[in-house]
């Protein structure tokens, strides 16, 4: 007989949960097999200690619904090794640093800080923009504003 089977049978027999014919067979087996008898005695010893402990400590059996719900609801957390957290932190830092480096490199040629915007240097129209060829100017006849082509104005000697 396997030790696991004997363990279960001895406990069930002690609890009176075995059918009579199975209980009889178990008793015969234990009577004719001294090693099994010794093993059964060790199981019964653990059972009696367990029973004695439970009787002496009623607080062990006081289980509140909250505790039961928590035990059933929360799955056991798997302990993650420390190196996985360290690897995650390093990866995040590396990505952040790389992104910051490229962003800084791309922006270094076009300074758009307020001081640059407020510069007093004359504004030169960008050649790649269609609006570079036009500018707003006052109508010399006093009728209001007008849009003047830059190249035409330069030909006429206007500022």
């Amino acid at each position: 007989m396997k030790p696991e089977s004997l363990h279960a049978l001895v406990i069930d027999h002690h609890a009176g949960e075995l059918p009579p014919e199975v209980a009889d067979l178990l008793e015969v087996h234990l009577a004719t097999h001294p090693p099994a008898r010794a093993e059964a005695d060790r199981i019964l010893n653990a059972l009696h200690i367990t029973r004695r402990t439970v009787l002496q400590h009623p607080e062990l059996g006081r289980v509140l619904p909250l505790v039961i719900a928590r035990a059933q609801a929360v799955p056991p957390r798997q302990a993650r090794p420390v190196w996985t957290k360290a690897a995650a932190i390093l990866t995040f830092s590396a990505l952040t640093a790389t992104g910051g480096f490229y962003a800084g490199s791309a922006r270094s040629g076009h300074d758009s800080t307020p001081s640059a915007v407020a510069s007093t240097a004359p504004i030169k129209p960008r050649k790649d923009s269609p609006w570079a060829r036009y500018r707003m100017a006052l109508d010399p006849q006093g009728t209001g504003m007008q849009v003047v082509r830059v190249d035409v104005a330069e030909k006429k000697g206007q500022p």
Partner: protein, 165 residues
């Protein structure tokens, strides 16, 4: 349901289980008058169950299931209101000194899951059968059996490894 069978069932349950229920509540709460109130409330709820035509598979187990809920509710209420236990002295009646085997077993049982500890309590303190424990806790009999076997195996393993290294 035949109403003529109701009183005998309740009477039989009361005769068989009133003392057990008193001990059950006393282990939870200590005491005296409060415990008797809980016992009465348990039978009152059982009477309602019978009156409503429900027929639990295991009446005694069902009765302990009611007692369990009442006991937990009373304990929670008492913890919230911080009222003194029913009879603190009675709760400390049987407290012989532990030997090292009981101490080791206590540590092992404390680490078991709550359901397993309840099974041990109902089996060893109140001598409930597997079927009654299953009905009381609302779980299959096989679960009761396997958890009980596992708990005792854990205690045995602890005792043998610690006391006979």
């Amino acid at each position: 349901m035949d109403t003529t069978n109701q009183p005998p069932l309740l009477e039989r349950l009361f005769t068989e289980s009133a003392g057990d229920l008193t001990r059950y509540f006393a282990r939870w709460h200590g005491g005296d008058q409060g415990v008797q109130d809980l016992v009465q409330e348990t039978f009152l709820q059982m009477a309602r169950v019978i009156r409503d035509g429900k027929s639990p598979k295991c009446a005694r187990g069902y009765l302990f299931g009611i007692a369990r809920h009442l006991s937990q509710a009373a304990w929670s209420q008492r913890e919230q209101s911080k009222v003194v236990p029913f009879d603190a002295a009675a709760a400390e009646i049987a407290a012989p000194e532990d030997d090292e085997r009981v101490t080791a077993a206590h540590e092992t049982i404390s680490a078991l899951e709550p359901l397993q500890r309840e099974i041990l309590e109902l089996r060893f303190s109140h001598n409930l059968s597997y079927a009654e424990i299953a009905e009381s806790l609302g779980i299959p009999i096989g679960t009761v059996r396997s958890r009980l076997h596992h708990a005792i195996a854990e205690v045995r393993h602890r005792l043998e490894s610690e006391l006979n290294p």
